[in-house]
Symmetry: C2
Subunit: 221 residues, 2 copies
DNA sequence: CATATAGTCAACAATGATGTCTACTACTAT
DNA sequence: ATAGTAGTAGACATCATTGTTGACTATATG
């Protein structure tokens, strides 16, 4: 009586299937890294037949590359997508909101964040990633607008903030027992990062020599 | 004429072999993550017979655990080992030297750094790692000695500095073409990090509200 | 209705990893 | 000299993954 063909999908929307596969690949990528991405594992996770995965992505490598591109594109869209129209209105996006946005984003998209970070960190040669370029560009504009210190090394600062903000959720996931503890950890990260960008972490009076040594280009007193 | 038994090792020092295996495992761990650590790959990389690896570590899991412990221990020893006797003499280790030491260490031990970071980041539950505890403890003492700002969240700050310093070499490795460019990148990281801990990254006059908001516990003006 | 599309299911050979085992060699200490 | 230790070499069964292929099915569109 029961249909012997239960469990069939026969999707009308191949793009949706493709996205499901990519999403599963992203999760695997975030969990185990690019080297241990297996088509079988991805297909299992996506609830899709292995053959189906091979229809969309002829080889394992194709899947890996497609996932990397997809991650890059999604990272940009999810983070900057709905912000693009806003930009022309708001001349300077406040740093606390920017950091909060980044911190929230990382916490809500831990796999995407992690996969993106490792891809962009370890990809050889010039950085072509849209999100990275936009992020650095925004930081550059911010400093030149007079709100951020001119003596910043924007790229290095971008690296520091992104690396720590995007990896923080891993730490939180491993060390927070419940969602309340999770929220508290997220708050702590935001507070400390704000504190750091506002005041640094050294007591100035105790480090006169260092201040002299490291303020070559900064003469804003 | 040539000995058919060339390539034999027949080592007198089994511990050395063990270390070689662990070192190879560490490299694999740093490259591909813990999930794709294979005994065969490790043995190949260590220039050791697969059987030999199985003599030292009965299963893949045993090798993985042993490597994690070894990484933890080595991270502590290599970083703090030769500093321990010094400590009683020098009451406060200057922050620039500390950061330089960390930055150099990461650059000279990229695999160890990376493997350690991921292990300690993703290990569930309380952090028992010696290096982490020591690092946080030192930071705590530094702030309480009056040289560091009292309002720091020491653990979060430790996370930020470690995550960025230990991952920076990956970025450098992927983006620096020669050793000269490498050195320059390392210098840039050190400079920017010092700048950040000394001055923050925002121009104070432009962020009066934020300063008010984020200086609850800090009343050192 | 006919056909193309998207997908399922099952089988297959090849490859490589795991874990075990046995026979062999070289070096060390008794 | 002999027994033990450390490592090599090779074989073996088991399993997972890769990439391919062929038969089948549900859905949409002409």
């Amino acid at each position: 009586m029961a249909s012997s063909k239960a469990g069939r999908r026969n999707n009308t929307d191949p793009d949706a299937t493709r996205r499901e596969i990519l999403q599963a690949a992203l999760e695997v990528l975030a969990k185990d890294g690019p080297e241990s991405l297996s088509v079988a594992e991805v297909a299992r996770r996506a609830g899709v037949n292995r053959g189906t995965a091979y229809q969309h992505f002829p080889t394992r490598e194709d899947l890996a590359h497609a996932t990397a591109s997809w991650v890059s594109e999604r990272m940009y869209q999810e983070f900057y997508g709905d912000l693009e129209q806003l930009e022309e209105v708001n001349e300077v996006y406040p740093p606390d909101l920017a950091l909060e946005r980044l911190s929230d984003f990382a916490m809500n998209n831990p796999e995407l964040s992690r996969a993106w970070l490792f891809d962009v960190m370890s990809t050889q040669g010039n950085v072509t990633d849209k999100f990275w370029k936009k992020y650095v560009e925004e930081l550059g504009e911010f400093t030149q607008s007079g709100y951020g210190r001119e003596d910043m090394d924007v790229e290095v600062f971008a690296f520091i903030t992104l690396a720590s903000a995007l990896l923080w959720p891993i730490w939180v996931g491993a060390h927070a027992k419940n969602s309340k503890a999770r929220d508290k950890m997220q708050q702590r990260f935001f507070d400390e990062m704000m504190r750091l960008v506002l005041f640094g972490s050294l007591v100035p009076e105790r480090h006169a020599k260092l201040i002299k040594r490291f303020s070559k280009r900064a003469k804003q007193d």
